[in-house]
Each structure stands twice: as C-alpha cells, then as structure tokens.
C-alpha cells in the first residue's frame, strides 16, 4: 500500500492506495483546525511512524506521532520541541521533520521557525536545540521572508551522521560536517538579487533544497529566482534554470531511484506568483537540470491560478516512482508513472502546505 500524507492549513488528510496507485481512499481531517506545516513518514523501523508538525492558532505548536498509520496519535505531556529558557525565544512552528540516516533510526531532525534546528534521539517524540547553529554569528542577520524566518529544509547525509545540510529563508544553505558542533554558510553561486551585494556569503532566499541518497555530494536548489545544482556537497552552485519558463518557484524534488531526475513547479515571478499563463505544469529534468520537460498529461490545461508551496510536492519510494503535488486551492494530483501522466487524488481541501508519500 502507498500512503500519501497531505498537510493543509486546517488539518491532515491521509490517502491510501492498495491498487498500484490507480485509486485512493481519503481519510481526514486528522487534527482539524491545526495547520500541518510538516509531515514525515519514517519507514526506518518495522512499523512506519507518521510524524506531524501541527500549529493551532489558539494552543500553539506541537509534534504528534502515530505508529498505526494515523489510527491514533501521541504527543508527550511536555512540549516536544521547545526553546530553552535562556534563549528567550518561543517556537513558532515546525516547518520540517526529517528522519536521520538509516544507521540511526531513532534520530529525527526538526527545522523550525524562528530559524533553528532541533534533534531528536527518541524517534521524533522529543527534541533538543542544536546549539551551535542557534549560536551562529550570522543568526542576527538572518531575516524573515514573507512566509516567516524558518529552517524549511533539513537533509541529513544518508550515511554519515556527522553531516547535515539545512536551508532557510532568508539566510540560505548551512552545513555541518562535525555532527552539528560547527556550521558554515554554503551559498557560493546562489544569487540574492534583492540585496545590494547579489553574491553575499549568506542571506540568500533559498526556497527548497534536495539531495539524492545515492549521490549525497549532489544537491539541487529552488531559489527565490534561480534554480541551482551543486556537485561538490553544496560548496558551490551552478544555475540549471535554462529551459524552464521561469526560475521562480518553491518545491524541488529528487526522484527516489534516479539521482539525475528532478521535479519543480515554476511560478512566473516573485511579483507574479502564478504558474506561467495559468497553466498547471510540473517540470521534470532527467539529466540533472541540463534540460527540462513540461509534464501536462492529466493536469489542467489553463485557468490554474494557484501555486504549489515548497513542501507541497513529493515522491514516493515505489518503482516506478509516484510523484505528487498539492495546490493552495486544495487540489492534490498524483502520477504513478514518474510524472508522465497525472490524475486528481483529492480536491476542495484547505490550502495544501505539505505532502509526503511512502510504501507502507
């Protein structure tokens, strides 16, 4: 069975397919009236664990887990993610939940607002602040983008537990290679056109980064204008925007089995956040960003005046790979053939903030 978790502004929906992703049954809302900014399906143990980063306007943020695919949910009495008292800071929300390497099945990372990284050593139930990144001298100069000041991308190295790469808006990409004791900005080549110096050490508005476990030295980035690839572990970045209708957008997703294959969903521009010409098109590159193809079969031809947010696109781990995205107008599309054709999985949901899928 393939499980697709759909986090929205007002709750979580779970879609299940037991027929090769030909049809889906939908349950929800789970956690109604909470914004689900992050969700993860952790398949590193015998029983998959769902983790959801929730935010209630009334009662604040939390992280809940489920070990029975959403049948029941648990959260600790004490806040699972909380800033220490000496920081004087309160958690806004959890933007990203990222299971650690397979060799550490109890390690889970949480990227949060305001920009900080937390680490769990108990499977994602409770977390501790990663101090060295919080104490980074650059932090005073990180500034919030429109969506807030958050670490929205967390990429633990698939094998090396000492290496983790994160990205934030704004601030850019930071990386540790010593288990979180020190962090360095890693933005060389990524433009910050909105700053007086368009090539600063940090301050970039990176919207999403992605990494393939089979080629962990390679990264892809969808920037606030700019699409990039790094072949040297995020040290330097080169543009791969040629061939896209626009270099603006939010998601960036890597195929689960083919490290050269990536997906994104371009929007016209910062000042015009619609798909070009109102056409619903996913763009796929099969050569690491050297060329791009518009994927359209089964997607709305026109009149698609909505957007796909940074975490609202994902792949599953099946073969052939499934690809999924949700819109701010509550539609969720899926492809069971790596993007060649698409069908509607859900509609009329609240705005979709995140999606994640896995075989369970």
């Amino acid at each position: 069975m393939v499980l697709l978790a759909i986090g929205t502004r007002k709750g979580l929906w779970l879609a299940r397919s037991a027929d090769g992703r030909a049809s889906w049954t939908l349950s929800g809302p789970h956690h109604p009236m909470t914004a689900v900014y992050s969700v993860a399906i952790d398949t590193r143990r015998g029983s998959p664990r769902l983790l959801a980063g929730l935010h209630s306007e009334h009662f604040g943020p939390s992280v809940m887990t489920s070990d029975d695919l959403g049948g029941s949910w648990q959260e600790p009495d004490h806040a699972p993610v909380a800033f220490p008292e000496d920081t004087g800071t309160s958690l806004g929300q959890v933007w990203q939940i990222a299971p650690g390497p397979r060799s550490q099945p109890e390690v889970v990372y949480a990227g949060v607002e305001p920009s900080a990284l937390f680490r769990s050593a108990d499977g994602g139930r409770t977390y501790e602040l990663v101090r060295a990144l919080w104490d980074h001298p650059h932090r005073a100069d990180w500034t919030p983008g429109f969506g807030g000041q958050a670490i929205h991308s967390v990429l633990p190295h698939p094998e090396n537990p000492d290496e983790v790469t994160v990205a934030m808006s704004t601030g850019g990409v930071y990386k540790t290679t010593d288990g979180g004791r020190s962090w360095a900005a890693s933005n060389s080549g990524i433009s910050a056109y909105f700053m007086p110096d368009p090539d600063p050490e940090f301050g970039q508005c990176v919207h999403k980064i992605a990494q393939h476990p089979d080629r962990p030295e390679r990264f892809f980035a969808q920037n606030h204008h700019g699409v990039y690839r790094s072949d040297d572990g995020a040290r330097t970045w080169q543009s791969i925007a040629e061939g896209l209708p626009s270099d603006f957008g939010f998601p960036m997703v890597v195929h689960p089995h083919r490290p050269e294959v990536i997906y994104t969903f371009p929007l016209t521009a910062d000042a015009l956040r619609f798909p070009p010409d109102g056409k619903c098109r996913v763009y796929r590159s099969e050569d690491g960003g050297g060329s791009w193809t518009a994927l359209t079969a089964g997607l709305p031809e026109d009149g698609f005046w909505t957007a796909v947010l940074r975490d609202a696109m994902c792949v599953d781990d099946a073969d052939p790979a499934g690809v999924y995205f949700g819109s701010r107008t509550g539609e969720v599309y899926g492809s069971a053939d790596e993007g060649d054709s698409w069908s509607l999985i859900a509609q009329h949901l609240p705005d979709v903030l995140c999606v994640r899928a896995a075989s369970v």
């Binding site: 306007e57 009662f59 800033f83």
Partner: protein
C-alpha cells in the same frame, strides 16, 4: 487560598477530562502562579495556555472573576480568595 479553574470542552482532555478543578494556593497568588501549578499537575494543558517562555498564548482568554486578564495585569493579576478563572479560546481563525 482557594481558586477554581474552569476549562472549555476542547481543553478538558488535557486535564483528565474534567470541566473544572480546584487549587489551594499560597496567598498572595497571581494568575501566573496558578499556571505554574497547572504546569506541574497538567503539563499538556499548561503548554496549550502558555508558550515555553511562560507567555500567555495570544488567542486564549483568561477571565479572572469575569474580567479578561489582559484588562487587568495579565499573568501578574493578583487573585482574590475564592477566585474563579475561566479559560475560553478567543474568537479567531478563518
């Protein structure tokens, strides 16, 4: 001194399902003191009411003997003997 705390339905599951509970406090006591006691007895409830820096959550109202605490002294509001604290989510959201 004796204090009564009244909970809305949506928060009762965080306090063993009870709609209200009584506390014995040492006088003088403030609303914040009561929330500190709640943190020990019902930590899940307390973090729905305050963030980790003990700031009252913006969209939760605390009526102290009928007056919303922000019209008084907020968490520093001093409670009278027999005070009743009614917790009500504010009108918010879309």
């Amino acid at each position: 001194m004796h204090v009564t705390v009244l909970l809305p339905g949506v928060l009762r599951s965080a306090a063993d399902g009870t709609p209200k509970f009584e506390l014995e406090m040492t006088a003088p006591a403030t609303l914040g003191d009561v929330l500190d006691v709640i943190a020990g007895r019902y930590p899940l409830l307390e973090r729905r009411l305050r963030d980790e820096q003990r700031r009252l959550r913006r969209y939760v109202n605390f009526f102290v003997d009928g007056e919303e605490c922000r019209r008084l002294a907020g968490a520093d509001t001093v409670l009278a003997e027999g005070a009743e604290i009614q917790i009500i989510p504010s009108v918010a959201g879309g």
